[in-house]
Symmetry: C3
Subunit: 263 residues, 3 copies
């Protein structure tokens, strides 16, 4: 990754403050809205079938996340995603808990079939489940390593025509041909709910300002990892990590980036 291009995208988000429309889960709405605001983007959460097409149409990116899915919300996600894709607005998908229940798998299958996705971000179990590879998902946490899911991610990327991101100790980003990795962050991040969902949300912000979705995804995972690792250094536990993460995302600048990405 070129540091300079990462900084350009970060500055673009802060200057343009792109509207990121989220149809996401109840648990993380507050987190992801705050992370988008701290980064410089403008979040909106709206899920009603009566307005999602209109809202997606004025957005610069759409994020759909099935964490606390139910049929009406899935219909809204699909309508919004089809509307966004039809207008060239990037659509980022987070298949939370894919594989954990048959319903969740069926919904993922439907979203994959009916929507043209720009980026798919999940943990290793979820990415494998999207390909019907047998991986045991325990609730919403991964039970396999990111590396073991890389082949699946590459196949998925080719099949979906999307960039696929596997989050973990090492993040893998692939368009089906090339693979990039990001090795940042802190193990303590897995003790804060919604860190994965936050990664997906800010991928929306980066995709809003950079139509090279491979690069946008690498930049998003870099921003997450930098903010997470810097924040973890001054955090006694997951409570303060969450606070410091937002402060760091807000403060992230060229000097911090140069210093951190040098090593």
């Amino acid at each position: 990754m070129e540091k300079e291009r990462f900084i350009v995208d970060l500055n673009r988000i802060r200057e343009m403050s792109p509207l990121v429309h989220n149809i996401t889960n109840y648990v993380v709405m507050n987190n992801t809205a705050n992370a988008l605001l701290a980064l410089g983007a403008s979040p909106v959460m709206a899920h009603s079938i009566e307005e999602v097409a209109d809202m997606a149409s004025i957005a610069s990116a759409l994020v759909i996340n099935i964490g606390t899915l139910e049929p009406a919300w899935v219909d809204s996600m699909i309508l919004a995603a089809r509307t966004a894709a039809g207008k060239g607005i990037p659509v980022v998908f987070d298949p939370v808990g894919a594989g954990a229940t048959p319903y969740r798998s069926a919904v993922c299958k439907r979203i994959m079939e009916e929507c043209r996705l720009s980026v798919i971000r999940g943990n290793a179990s979820e990415i494998m489940a999207l390909l019907n590879v047998s991986a045991v998902t325990k609730g919403v946490d991964s039970t396999v390593s990111s590396e073991s899911a890389l082949d699946s991610a590459m196949m998925l990327a080719k099949a979906a025509g999307a960039v696929v991101v596997i989050s973990g100790a090492v993040d893998y980003i692939t368009d089906g041909t090339s693979v990039e990795t990001v090795t940042l962050g802190s193990p303590m991040m897995s003790r804060v709910t919604g860190m994965g969902c936050t990664a997906t949300a800010i991928t929306g912000a980066f995709a809003a300002v950079n139509s090279n979705y491979m690069e946008a995804s690498v930049h998003a995972m870099t921003a997450m990892g930098l903010a997470g690792s810097i924040a973890a250094e001054c955090s006694a536990g997951p409570g303060s990590l969450q606070v410091n993460f937002l402060d760091t995302l807000y403060a992230l600048d060229a000097a911090m980036i140069e210093k951190r990405l040098q090593a």
Copy 2:
């Protein structure tokens, strides 16, 4: 504003701990419940049509907020608002994102027609959208200055028979005839999700203890602004601002108020 009367209202909230019934959006429920608790009020969130009339009836104020609206929730808001108004319980309305989508505008129109509101609080774009003044709302953030919406706010206040509050760098509070301003707070507050919704929620607490809704609204915006500006001084970013804001709201006392409102 008379400092002494502000302190009286603040003490009343802490002594009486008024029950504030909120039918609000998913993103901010946690924030607004915590802000009401920190201030000394007693929040309850309940949205089911099966119980909102009963809950509103035992409350000292009702807050309705359309942030993540959908038809069933709107029906509940209207039933609760009509019940509350019928019993003389103040109803505070937050038209989040008014003007952003046709559905949102239609719902605002219906609420304005069917409910007798005590206070309406929004940003400049939202207040103008309520009057069908052409203002471009970008998602849920304002695109116009508070000052430029003041005429709309005064017309709206007269038409609705309600106090109207425009939040911004300067807050304007009007009953259609007189106008008061509050110039407190910090720009960093706009980087924390739900600060506007929190202002609306605590307006409910002040309206619960002071039936002069013009004064109650000025006091609510003063409490927000004081807590926000004091908190911002020791906050590295929006993560810590949110934490310090709650701590300050909890600690706000006559000495802090005297000192801050002197300048």
Copy 3:
């Protein structure tokens, strides 16, 4: 309570990371997920009738909480609870606001009749309301002391065949015959929304690793009380208390426990 057995349970949670399935209210989902993660458990929130039976089946405990109830959610809670009970998975019930509205009372009655519960945790008003004892619940906060509800709790425990926990300045835990008390925590905890719901959620984690639900409940209330009182000592208000609470829950170890429970 034997300290050694408490430490054993705490370590078990961290080693086994039990999946705790929550069907809970919108206000506290984020808090309870974070508390479970900080403690070492693995939370999942899923409420759709299409998947709750499947999700409950793979969980090690189920937590149902009626804070922001509506008919579809209640149906899901009952299906999940019946599924879990049928498989010997502990079910923990939080009757938030029981008695505040007729609908809430009717739902509690239905849950009590149709589900086999392992633990019921509420404040004094809620526990009395479950027995139709006339106690005035003001919204979701208790209006009576824990002690005055102890007789009701014992009767309720016998009638339901469940452990009943009354939270308050003193927590009472009873199986209908014996009673244990926990006197820890801080008054400031009542100024943070969802602390009661968090107690219920982590009771799920302890019940997942200890089938003696009486002991598991005492351990859960001890963990809450320890983390709350240690956190309160370095918290300026409810904002920082919430952060420090999670950090302390994460850091809680044998040395801290020995030191604190000695006095």
